[in-house]
Amino acid sequence: MSRVGGDLRYFARTALRGLITSPVTTAVSVTTIGVALVLVGAFALLISNMEGLLDRFGDDLRVTAYLEEGLDEAAMSALARRVGTVEGVIEVQVVTKDEALERFQAGVGASTGLLQALEENPLPASLEIHLAESRRTPEGMRVVVEAVDGLPGVSDLAYGQEWVDGYARVVALVRSVGLGVGAVLALATTLIVANTIRLAIFARRDELEILALVGAGRSFVATPFLAEGLIQGAAGGAVALAVLYALFRLALPEIESGLSLLLGLASPEFFDLAAMLRLLGAGGVLGLVGSAAALIQGVRG
């Protein structure tokens, strides 16, 4: 085995020995990182689902331009072609007065006698304007609306702006709170891990003294501690993932019924593989940074 191979073997063996021979400090570190990542992960899960919800909602998002009375089909088609040239518009569909009435009848049910009582069709013709994905934001919609508003033949515009604005604000708020909470938790966890590793260093001061005596360099002494931090962090990430998944499964029925009542949208989703790896990685980085912080103060070559 080469020098590097021998060193790696030594580092791995020493790190594992450190973890096994200090089960209490190891458990404290793993739990601390796990708890912090459960909180951060819960926020991340909430944000990703809210964003997902907005994306799904965005697929159905369109601007409806109601047309003035008296436009013939040729004028409506010409107007539709003109709207179709607006940047961010991918499709424009003409809905005539008759089609609007049919849709209304289909929506409220054929048995209603209300419509039969009307002498003439009160519904206006309209253009359904479908937006490119990049325009499915409050700002993007506003640009399209401003371009269409005031065109000859357009009497009114509807696009659920308040809903979109409100929802986007909620997502931004949750994301900011998540980032803030995440940063505070990351700092707190780093300090706790640093203290835990410092305890481990103190508990092994005899070993460090002997290593220094026999000529171990700083990196040789430090690497097993960094590896310990990395392993503890990744283990904390794994614990957080398991807890989050369990909570997600337990809370799913409640969330689903609440969402279906509110929006009638699809089920919330758990992290995908990339997000899970990111959470594990975040744990590893927390552990590594905590170890490094402790080593900077604790180890003297």
Binding site: G6, R9, Y10, D206, I210, L213, V214, G215, R218
Partner: protein
């Protein structure tokens, strides 16, 4: 640079100390103006009462401390000016043995010795072979899987000695290596140290046990209150 006597230093000098002082508190000196030379392969006793400066002198030699004044040349290199990064490289050429053994209680005998070779980056197979040879040399090969605390004081010091010799150091420093041992075990350890010296390792042994000095008849540096009071040449082989 000249030797203590003003002569040009001999080419086989391994350790040279020139006007070395060490002070921990202003106005007090653990070592004061010590000048000496130790040649390659020499076996030197460092004697003196407690507080004479023996341990301080040894700590200066393996760079656990820096001198307050003076120069310490080891194999032509001034270790008083070594940076932190160079200290590990220096220590890999020096074996150190202490009165309290400094062994890891949670490691086996074999692992305690192997640690010195792991630091050197030796391959695992070579480490196993070398550790076995070292333990055989100190008569502990049959105890290699034991924990140090299950062994006697003499056996523990033999482990420490095997660890100190593992990297084939040029210089072996032993600070009161037999201070915790009875007379029979003391001779056992001293014979092993003398054996290392016979194979070319330069040896410095700090002791306040005059009977050892008499018995082995080696060059003796006597310290008192931080001053080098006497440099007595070797009287002859052990009786």
């Amino acid at each position: 640079m000249t030797s203590p006597s003003g002569d040009v230093p001999r080419r086989d000098a391994l350790v040279q100390m020139y006007h070395v002082s060490k002070s921990y508190l202003p106005g007090t000196f653990a070592l004061r103006d010590v000048t000496l030379e130790v040649n390659k392969g020499e076996f030197v006793f460092l004697t003196g009462p407690s507080g004479a400066g023996k341990t301080t002198l040894m700590r200066l030699l393996f760079a656990a401390e820096k001198p307050s004044e003076g120069q310490i040349i080891l194999r032509g290199r001034n270790i008083a000016r070594l940076g932190d990064a160079a200290i590990p490289r220096l220590r890999r050429r020096i074996g150190v043995v202490f009165q309290d053994f400094k062994l890891l209680a949670n490691r086996t005998v074999e692992e305690n010795v192997a640690i010195a070779l792991e630091v050197l980056g030796r391959p695992p197979r070579e480490i196993r072979r070398r550790v076995f040879a070292l333990l055989k040399q100190v008569g502990l090969q049959h105890r290699r899987h034991h924990r140090p605390l299950t062994l006697s004081g003499g056996e523990q010091q033999r482990i420490a000695l095997a660890r100190a010799l593992a990297g084939e150091p040029e210089l072996l420093l032993a600070d009161e290596p037999t201070g915790n041992l009875d007379s029979e075990l003391t001779l056992e350890i001293m014979d092993l140290i003398a054996h290392a010296s016979a194979r070319g390792t330069t040896v410095m042994v700090a002791t306040h046990d005059h009977s050892l000095v008499e018995r082995y008849g080696r060059r003796t540096l006597h310290l008192e209150a931080g001053h080098l009071k006497e440099d007595r040449p070797a009287a002859g082989p052990p009786r």
